[in-house]
Amino acid sequence: MIALFLRDLALAIRAGGGFGLGLAFFLIVVVLVPFGVGPERGILAAIAPGILWVGALLACLLSLDRIFALDFEDGSLDLLATAPIPLEGVVAMKAAAHWVTTGLPLTLAAPVLGLLLHLEPAAYGWLVLSLALGTPALSMIGTFGAALTVGLRRGGLLLSLLVLPLYVPTLIFGAEAVARGAAGQANATPLLMLAGITLATLALLPFAAAAAIRINLR
């Protein structure tokens, strides 16, 4: 299983798409927002937590359809399904590799982009913490969506439609944790909820995603 994780990382690095594209997209979203709402410092600071979270979420969404599509096309998924490692483990490793190549870089880049949006100084720590807690859930939920749509020809758009409603709780608690942190309020509840969602999705969704892949392969 570790071999699979390392292979996916190697593929992402060599293809160049994994790290770069999601980050560039995140940057562009954050740069475009001030053009839309105007350069006033107060407005930008107020909406910064939400914009950063929505931007990270969209950047995450961008690479979801590639989680299984390439392996499905070149037959690797068939071979993995007949391999001695459980398909649930394959799914979990795929999600982990997706997180390392998108969620983790987004988390690390977020404070820099926070500067552009005049994020409150108190909020930087909460931003990184909430993204670090929440983006694994985004990757895992997205992997489930990718598993549902793996065999479909026009799966990309459908994947977004299926996954975005599932992202709502993560987004709400994540952005709320940063916003409360920025305002100096207590934000333990949203952070705990965020961690709870991540742990629950990591524990349960691999089974649902593996079931979906088995159905799609047959």
Binding site: L148, L166, P169, I172, F173, A208, A212
Partner: protein, 242 residues
């Protein structure tokens, strides 16, 4: 005689054909009685003026929007556990009905919100939850439409329905946490019926019954259609094989 016999498509077609005219008749009757009673024969409420009449549409539609999803969840579980095709097709048949109910609840809510709250749309927890429910219905229907193999489609939509249900409940909690709302709580809720006067409650009860009957009639009718579609597919495939 077990309940599962109705999961046999043939048995289902016979039974539904026998009961459908009666259900459609009852639906029409209760709908006319409920809406005429509610629209023409109820007084205005103290706080709401004549807008209270919207309740006879808004509350039943909202209730059926949620109940339709619950029914789809149960049908999906039955399909995954017992592999009764009728169950999967009933879930598919119910989704557009639930979608329409959600749309009605949202539309009447927005129209009601304008005079009451001074705005068509507020990010009130309940309205927001219904918007999210609307998205869930869209995704569920789109997944059904996208997959060609009918059994795989039934399996995958069932998995989506189950996972979606968990996330829908989670979203409801998250949205509540995110914004405490403007919505009427106890005055309109069903379990606190003592708070609402009988003049409003009785016609509302008739309307609730009417919407339930309408849902049953539509789901039965649409399930019959889905069963026929499956039979057409199977027959055409046999023609090709022969």
């Amino acid at each position: 005689m077990s309940l599962w016999e109705y999961a046999n498509p043939q048995k289902f077609m016979q039974t539904s054909q026998a009961v459908l005219p009666a259900i459609w008749g009852l639906t029409a009757l209760s709908m006319v009685v409920g809406l005429v009673w509610g629209f023409f024969l109820t007084p205005e409420a103290e706080n709401f003026g004549s807008t209270v009449k919207i309740i006879y549409l808004h509350v039943p539609a909202a209730m059926m929007a949620i109940n339709a999803w619950v029914m789809m969840l149960v049908a999906s579980l039955i399909w995954l556990i017992r592999r009764h095709h009728v169950s999967a097709l009933a879930a598919r048949a119910a989704a557009p009905v639930g979608l329409t109910m959600t749309l009605i609840a949202l539309a009447t809510g927005a129209i009601w919100g304008q005079p009451m709250w001074g705005t068509y749309w507020a990010w009130d927890p309940r309205l927001t939850s219904f918007l999210i429910l609307f998205l869930f219905y869209l995704g569920y229907i789109a997944l059904w439409e996208a997959i060609e193999n009918p059994d795989a489609a039934a399996d995958l939509t069932s998995v989506l329905c189950i996972v979606g249900s968990v996330f829908a409940v989670l979203s409801r909690y998250a949205v509540n946490f995110w914004n405490q709302g403007l919505h009427q709580g106890a005055t309109l809720s069903l379990d606190k019926q003592e708070n609402i006067a009988n003049v409003f409650w009785l016609p509302l009860l008739v309307c609730l019954g009417a919407f339930i009957l309408l849902f049953v009639a539509l789901v039965l009718e649409r399930t019959r259609t889905e069963i026929r579609v499956r039979r057409i597919k199977a027959l055409i495939a046999r023609e090709r094989m022969a």
